[in-house]
């Protein structure tokens, strides 16, 4: 799956655009950034309901190419600028967290970690 597929599946609005052709192998859905940081996964997308700059910082540390804000949440300019400077794609989807994760999962994206 590539970033562009995630936009299509979640009917997402692109807030800022990084590399839409970047391959995405795993996904992580959480509002708790320390939980995100606990599991290193390569080429991952982050789904979150949290809207603050630390979401972008967390994605940066984890080399994540794309952040999805669920329930149509809008990040402010500071967050968008930070993501732009890091080349991270930001998008929002009207779907709630559970549904957004489920849609990606049923389309073949996994959590990427063993239980």
């Amino acid at each position: 799956m590539i970033v562009k597929d995630i936009i299509d599946i979640l009917e997402g609005d692109v807030i800022c655009e990084g590399d839409l052709q970047q391959e995405i192998k795993t996904a992580c859905g959480s509002d708790m950034m320390s939980d995100v940081l606990a599991f290193v996964k390569d080429q991952s997308v982050l789904l979150t309901g949290l809207v603050n700059p630390q979401v972008v910082r967390t994605a940066e540390m984890m080399d994540m190419a794309c952040i999805v804000f669920v329930r149509g949440k809008d990040p402010d300019k500071g967050i968008v600028d930070l993501a732009k400077s890091r080349g991270i794609t930001l998008l929002k989807t009207r779907y709630r967290m559970f549904t957004a994760c489920g849609l990606l999962y049923t389309n073949g994206l996994s959590g990427g970690t063993k239980v």
């Binding site: 509002d31 290193v40 630390q54 984890m62 500071g78």
Partner: protein, 142 residues
């Protein structure tokens, strides 16, 4: 060692949104030096968690980073309240962070356990009322 690259950062607690700038900058530097992605990520994540801790608990401080060909050493020092019970602080889920920090996505008691997980060695020197020094090393597989 003469071929070490030394970096120094001040970590301010005035603006939570800036927490992570030092880690991001180190990440970029390690990338430009050609270290492998796994090593870079481990250093960046451990340092980022420590930076967040300094901002939450200790009103900031500084970090020193020494980059050697075979390892990366990071010292994070603050003049905060110190850690009363280090063993307890190392337990997953134990946190003394104020509630408002949780609304920012941190304060789940995962900081120090995460740092330990991603580093090859971790040492905490802490004195109540004086501050905490956290020494981290990530080895570079040869």
């Amino acid at each position: 060692m003469s071929n070490a690259i030394h970096l120094h950062y001040e970590v301010s607690s005035e603006d939570f949104t800036r927490a992570g700038e030092a880690s991001g900058s180190v990440k970029k530097r390690l990338k430009s030096l050609g270290f492998n992605g796994d090593v870079i990520r481990r250093v960046a994540i451990a340092m980022y968690e420590a930076e967040i801790n300094m901002v939450i608990h200790a009103e900031g401080g500084y970090c020193d980073v020494d980059i050697y060909p075979d390892r990366i050493e990071v010292l994070l020092a603050d003049k905060g309240p110190g850690i009363p019970d280090v063993d307890k602080a190392m337990q997953e889920g134990f946190s003394t962070a104020p509630d408002n920090v949780r609304t920012l996505g941190f304060g789940a008691g995962m900081g120090l356990p995460n740092i330990k997980k991603y580093t090859d060695s971790m040492r905490i020197d802490t004195t109540i009322g004086e501050g905490t020094k956290l020494y981290l090393t990530v080895n570079v597989p040869q």
